[in-house]
């Protein structure tokens, strides 16, 4: 535990030095990487661990984001008040619509959550466009911080706080139980576990994290639009970050988010349009085919291979 905390500190320290030598344009996309990392971790703690694959995390993000945007823009709520209420709205809507779906498993859960996301997308456009801004969304929202460097530190700080919190929970036996739900939920009930309780816990953690990401992202951009939140690109970004980074590890989604956003930037001059999703798809498929544990799994494999080799050298 102490050793892993040390690794976290080193990781954080390295990340904190980035603004010293990176131009603000690059920092801007790293801010986005931090948000994708937050959402991918949120996805991981629910879907990666318990195996209830959600295709609807943008629903949680969007409800929280729209709630704070509307409260701040239409009703003139102070920034932090509307952000807190936004998180509550995201978690509340999740409890009302998302959580009940945890009664169905496998593809059914994925489809129900996907439907929720699409429903939110359509409703935001169709119902009261004078409040939601319709397809154009809401602009001119108050900002949490302004400037590339402060935004980077803000998003990085929140991302790491969430990462360490989720790391602590999932590395405890709560994580063990969540993984056991993935392997055989009914068998776990037969061992005397009320699995609903752990699914609720995983869901609440996931919803709170997604909503915090949602409200901060909204007030980082100062704008929110239906396509930007509920569009299929957002969902793909989160899923691919979690999957190629390595699900059920919490660290993996961070690696995945940074990888996918960096790739997006690097490939932009060559692949400006939608075709870059082909590239992501190919990479995700490749990683998934050869190493379903993702980059994090590959890293731990190399680590254990290295330790094994050193041990062999030592003892002949």
């Amino acid at each position: 535990m102490i050793k892993s905390l040390l690794w976290w500190l080193i990781f954080i320290a390295v990340m904190c030095t980035l603004p010293l030598f990176l131009p603000s344009g690059i920092l801007r996309f790293l801010v986005f990487a931090n948000f994708v990392a937050i959402w991918a971790m949120s996805w991981d703690v629910l879907s990666g661990y318990t195996g209830y694959t959600s295709f609807g995390h943008p629903f949680l993000i969007g409800i929280a984001g729209y709630a704070t945007a509307i409260l701040a823009h239409e009703f003139g709520f102070p920034l932090y008040g509307s952000m807190a209420l936004g998180v509550l709205a995201g978690v509340g809507a999740g409890m009302a619509f998302f959580f009940p779906a945890l009664r169905v498993r496998g593809p059914y859960f994925a489809l129900v959550t996907l439907a929720l996301m699409d429903l939110a997308h359509r409703l935001v456009i169709a119902i009261r466009p004078d409040v939601t801004g319709g397809t154009r969304g809401i602009t001119g929202l108050p900002l949490v911080v302004s400037g590339a460097t402060p935004s980077f530190y803000m998003s990085l700080g929140v991302m790491f706080a969430i990462a360490i919190g989720l790391w602590f929970v999932t590395r405890s036996d709560i994580g063990t139980i969540l993984r056991a739900i993935h392997m055989d939920e009914d068998a776990l009930k037969t061992e005397g576990f009320s699995t609903l309780k752990y699914k609720l816990l995983a869901f609440l953690l996931s919803a709170v994290v997604a909503s915090i990401g949602g409200v901060l992202y909204t007030h980082y951009l100062g704008t929110i639009s239906p396509e930007g939140i509920f569009g299929i690109d957002m969902l793909f970004m989160i899923l691919i970050a979690a999957l190629i980074g390595g699900q059920n590890s919490i660290i993996g989604p961070i690696i995945g988010a940074y990888f996918i956003i960096s790739l997006l930037q690097v490939s932009r001059p060559f692949l400006p349009g939608e075709e870059r999703w082909l590239l992501y798809g190919a990479i995700a498929l490749g990683v998934y085919f050869f190493r379903p544990t993702g980059f994090y799994g590959i890293a731990t494999d190399i680590g254990s291979w290295y330790r094994e080799r050193r041990r062999r050298k030592q003892y002949g």
Partner: protein
């Protein structure tokens, strides 16, 4: 002797099929009860109903005098009933000792957050069923016999008063059957009450105090093993003669 488990008029339909039909039986304290019947006669369904994996259509189940129909599976387990599965269901990505450890963990979020449940605390449970050398193996690497032992250890980890053993002898060698039988006898001596489902009548005969035979979900005979095997209805049911039930 007190009745530990009592089943009254239990009925369960699956669509048009009546899996369990107005079934009543009981288990006395300190007893090993055999639950017999040909394939598809509803034995496992009875276990599933006791464990609350299914809800019965009518009838009652009493455990230590308390009606358990309103309970969830995990509540029944906490009251002291454990089961093993006909087809072992270990957690595939966990080693044998981790499997046992998970079964023994408390169902309390706060306790689970503290990392105080080390694997070493559970080696006794594993050694007790004879899994001592296989702790670090994954379920895929275990033989059928050792998977059954793991099932036993996982059931024992919940500290039960009553164990429901579903086809515990299926697919085992003669030596393994003898070892598991010995384990079951030892557990009985330690105060565990047991209901065994088995096709293997030779394995069942020396173990059980009493047998309940069901056919198409109905009770057709009940009594000591020696008497049951002479029963005409039981013979007919096992040999597939029509018109017994």
């Amino acid at each position: 002797m007190a009745k530990l488990l009592e089943v009254h008029g239990l009925t369960k339909h699956f669509g048009g099929i009546t899996a369990v039909d107005n079934l009543s039986f009981h288990l006395e304290e300190g007893e090993i009860l055999g639950l017999m019947g040909p394939n598809g006669s509803g034995k496992t369904t009875v276990f599933n109903l006791i464990m609350r994996d299914h809800k019965q259509d009518s009838g009652e189940i009493f455990f230590e005098g308390e009606e358990i129909s309103h309970c969830r599976t995990d509540e029944v387990v906490k009251m002291g009933i454990a089961r093993t599965y006909q087809i072992p269901r270990p957690f595939r990505d966990m080693t044998a000792i981790e499997n046992i450890r998970v079964s023994a963990l408390p169902d309390e979020v706060i306790k689970l957050l503290r990392r105080e449940f080390r694997s070493e605390m559970y080696t006794e449970l594993g050694k007790d069923v004879g899994l001592g050398e296989y702790f670090s193996m994954y379920p895929d690497e275990l033989t059928v016999g050792n998977l059954r032992r793991l099932e036993m250890a996982k059931a024992m980890a919940t500290n039960p008063k009553l164990a429901l053993l579903d086809e515990i002898f299926a697919g085992l060698t003669i030596v393994e059957i003898a070892e598991i039988s010995e384990l079951i006898r030892r557990k009985k001596a330690e105060g565990l009450n047991i209901i065994i489902i088995s096709h293997d009548l030779r394995a069942l005969a020396p173990l059980v105090d009493r047998v309940v035979v069901i056919y198409f979900g109905r009770l057709i005979a009940e009594g000591p093993f020696a008497e049951i095997v002479k029963d005409e209805k039981v013979k007919a049911a096992y040999l597939g003669v029509k018109g017994v039930a």
